[in-house]
C-alpha cells in the first residue's frame, strides 16, 4: 500500500510539474462550458438542470481521457524506466493501481473545478441537487472506465500516439454500443434481445442512469468491474510486453 502511494504521488506530481495538467484542465473547462452554453443553449432552455452540461461528458472524455492516460505505460516502456520500476520492491498491482488512481484523481480534480456550473444553475433557479450529485458520480466513474481502457492500450504500444488513437477508437466503440443509431441498426438484423444485450455493455447506457438521478447499483458495479477487467488485462499485457 505504501508503494502504491509512492507511485501515485509521483505520477500526480508529474502531471502538475509539466504543462499537461494546465493544458488539460483549461481545455476541459472551456470545452464543457462551451458545449453547455453555445451548443446546448443552456440559457434558452430556461430549465434549472445541468443536463445540458453532463450530456457532453461522454464525447469530451473520448479525446481528453486518452490524452491524459496515453503516456502512463508507453513512456515508461519507451524510456526504459519500466525496468527500474519493476526491479524496485513494488508489485505489479501496486504499480498499475498507483498509476491508474493518479490519473483518475487528476481527472477528478478537473471535474471538481467545474463547480461554477453548479453555482450558476443554483443562482438562476432551484435545481435538483441530488441529480447533480449522481451525475457527477456517474461522470467520474465514466472517466475511470475510459481511463482503464486507455491504460490497457498504453501498455500495448511504446508509441504514445498509437496508444492515444487506439484508446479513442476503443472508447468510441464502447460508447456507440448503446447509442440509439447503432442499436436501431442492430435491431434491423438481430433479435431485440441480442441487440439489447450488446447495448447493455455500453458506457453510454450506464452513464444515462446516473443522469436520471438514480444510484443504480448495477451501473456502479458495471463501471467498477469494467475498470477491474481492463486493469487486469493491462497487467497481462505488461507482463508479456515489458521485455520488448
Amino acid at each position: 500500500m505504501r508503494n502504491l502511494k509512492a507511485v501515485l504521488k509521483r505520477e500526480l506530481r508529474g502531471y502538475f510539474e509539466s504543462p499537461v495538467a494546465y493544458v488539460f484542465i483549461i481545455i476541459f473547462l472551456l470545452a464543457t462550458a462551451g458545449c453547455t452554453f453555445f451548443i446546448s443553449r443552456f440559457f434558452d432552455a430556461r430549465v434549472a438542470s445541468l443536463d445540458p452540461f453532463f450530456v457532453w461528458h461522454p464525447w469530451l472524455y473520448l479525446f481528453l481521457v486518452p490524452a491524459v492516460g496515453m503516456r502512463l505505460w508507453s513512456e515508461e516502456r519507451k524510456s526504459g524506466t519500466i525496468e527500474l520500476l519493476f526491479t524496485l520492491p513494488i508489485t505489479l498491482i501496486e504499480a498499475i493501481a498507483g498509476k491508474f488512481l493518479a490519473a483518475w484523481a487528476f481527472i477528478g480534480i478537473a471535474l471538481v473545478l467545474t463547480f461554477p456550473m453548479v453555482l450558476t444553475v443554483g443562482y438562476l433557479g432551484s435545481p435538483d441537487y441530488g441529480i447533480i450529485l449522481t451525475s457527477y458520480l456517474g461522470s467520474f466513474l465514466l472517466a475511470g472506465a475510459y481511463l482503464a481502457v486507455t491504460c490497457l492500450f498504453s501498455a500495448m504500444s511504446k508509441n504514445q500516439v498509437i496508444s492515444f488513437v487506439l484508446s479513442v477508437v476503443a472508447c468510441f466503440a464502447m460508447v456507440m454500443l448503446g447509442v440509439g443509431v447503432f442499436t436501431d441498426f442492430l435491431n434491423g438484423f438481430l433479435p431485440v434481445r441480442i441487440s439489447e444485450a450488446i447495448s447493455a455493455f455500453s458506457f453510454f447506457t450506464h452513464f444515462q442512469s446516473f443522469q436520471r438521478g438514480l444510484l443504480d447499483s448495477r451501473a456502479i458495479i458495471y463501471f467498477v468491474s469494467m475498470i477491474g477487467f481492463m486493469l487486469t488485462a493491462n497487467a497481462i499485457v505488461l507482463e508479456m510486453k515489458k521485455a520488448e
Partner: protein, 335 residues
C-alpha cells in the same frame, strides 16, 4: 551469495541465454564479458527479476527469484543498461521516490538521499531536471539509485558506459572499494575494466559460459602468455634469428615487422630505425614463444647477455585478454 542455476531464456526461436550456472560470493566482483547480444543483459535482467526465465532459476541470499521476487529486489541494487530514470523529475525528487519505495521514512529518508548526493557527487545538480543532465551525470543518478539502500548485492549493467576517462577511473575505484564487503556482478565489453576491477571473469558467447576464472587465469590461456619480446641492436644482428632458437625452452621464434606494432610504438620504432642506420647498425624485433609450461625469461636474458647484443627492450608478455576473448567468442559462433 548469488547462485544461478541453469538459467535459460528464449525470445521466440532465439535462445538468448542457454543454461548458465555460476555462484558469486561476498567480496567477489564478477565481470560478465561478451560481445553484444551474447546474453549478458538478459542474464542480469533475470537475476533482478525483471524478466522471468524460460527455465532454470537464481537465488539471491537464499531467496528464489520465482518464489520471493520482492525479497530479491529489496536486496539488490540494480543499475540497468544506460541508467534509465524519470527524466521529468529532478535528481532529489527521483532519489526521494526510490527511497520511499525502498521503505525509508522521514528524516532517515532525507539523510540517505543527502548522503547519496554526496557520494555520487550530485549535490550541485540536485535540483535540476534529470532531462537536462549530461550522460555522465545520469549514469551517476543511476548509481545513486542503486546504492541508496546500501544493498548487499549489486548488479551493474555496463556501469562505465558513456563516462569520460576520469569518471571511469572514479567509478572503478568506487566499485573496487565496495567490492570488499558486497557481492557485485557487472557487465562490460571493455577488457581493461575486467582487469582493473574484477576478481573473477565469466566470458559469455551465444548465451553460454565459455570461460570462467580470474582475469589472470583467462589471460594465461592466450598464446602470448609467457612469451618474451626482444628488441635487439647490434652488428650482424639479422643472423641472430636462428641463434635465438637455441635458447632452452623456446618453441618458436618469430620476427616482428613494424606493421605488427600498434601505431604509437611504430612511430618510436621509425625514429629508432633512423638512429640505428646512422650508427651502421641494424635492429631486430623478435618474439620467443616458450614450450608449454616453461618459463623462458631467465634463460633468454642470460643468452642475450652472453652474445653481448644491445637490448633496447625486453618484455615478458602476460597474455592478451583481447585475443582470448576473440578466440573464445568467435569459436562459439562457428559452433
Amino acid at each position: 551469495m548469488i547462485a544461478v542455476e541453469s538459467l535459460a531464456k528464449s525470445f521466440g526461436s532465439i535462445r538468448a541465454v542457454d543454461g548458465i550456472s555460476f555462484t558469486v560470493g561476498k567480496g567477489e566482483i564478477l565481470g560478465f564479458l561478451g560481445p553484444n547480444g551474447a546474453g549478458k543483459s538478459t542474464t542480469m535482467k533475470m537475476i533482478t527479476t525483471f524478466l522471468p526465465p524460460t527455465s532454470g532459476t537464481a537465488k539471491v541470499a537464499d531467496f528464489d527469484i520465482w518464489e520471493n521476487p520482492l525479497e530479491v529486489r529489496a536486496r539488490i541494487g540494480y543499475l540497468p543498461e544506460s541508467a534509465p530514470s524519470y527524466k521529468d523529475m529532478n535528481v532529489y525528487d527521483f532519489l526521494m521516490f526510490t527511497a520511499e519505495v525502498r521503505g525509508y521514512d522521514g528524516e532517515e529518508r532525507k539523510n540517505r538521499v543527502m548522503r547519496m548526493l554526496e557520494t555520487c557527487n550530485l549535490k550541485e545538480v540536485a535540483w535540476q531536471l534529470i532531462d537536462t543532465l549530461s550522460k555522465g551525470y545520469r549514469q551517476r543518478v543511476g548509481f545513486a539509485q542503486a546504492l541508496l539502500h546500501d544493498p548487499e548485492y549489486l548488479v551493474l549493467d555496463e556501469p562505465t558506459d558513456g563516462l569520460d576517462p576520469n569518471q571511469k577511473q572514479e567509478v572503478r575505484a568506487l566499485i573496487r572499494r565496495m567490492g570488499r564487503e558486497k557481492c557485485i556482478i557487472l557487465s562490460t565489453h571493455i577488457l581493461e575494466e575486467v582487469e582493473a576491477v574484477c576478481s573473477r571473469a565469466i566470458i559469455i558467447g551465444n548465451g553460454r559460459i565459455v570461460a570462467d576464472g580470474t582475469p589472470e587465469a583467462l589471460r594465461s590461456r592466450s598464446v602470448l602468455h609467457g612469451a618474451v619480446t626482444l628488441e635487439l641492436t647490434g652488428e650482424g644482428i639479422k643472423d641472430a634469428l636462428a641463434d635465438l632458437q637455441k635458447i632452452e625452452g623456446v618453441a618458436r621464434v618469430e620476427e616482428l615487422k613494424n606493421d605488427d606494432l600498434p601505431a604509437k610504438t611504430a612511430v618510436a620504432e621509425g625514429e629508432d630505425a633512423a638512429g640505428s642506420a646512422k650508427n651502421g647498425k641494424s635492429s631486430l624485433r623478435v618474439r620467443l614463444f616458450p614450450k608449454k609450461g616453461v618459463a623462458i625469461a631467465h634463460e633468454a636474458a642470460k643468452f642475450v647477455h652472453e652474445r653481448k647484443w644491445e637490448v633496447d627492450a625486453f618484455t615478458l608478455e602476460k597474455g592478451d585478454l583481447n585475443e582470448v576473448f576473440y578466440n573464445l567468442t568467435k569459436g562459439g559462433e562457428k559452433a
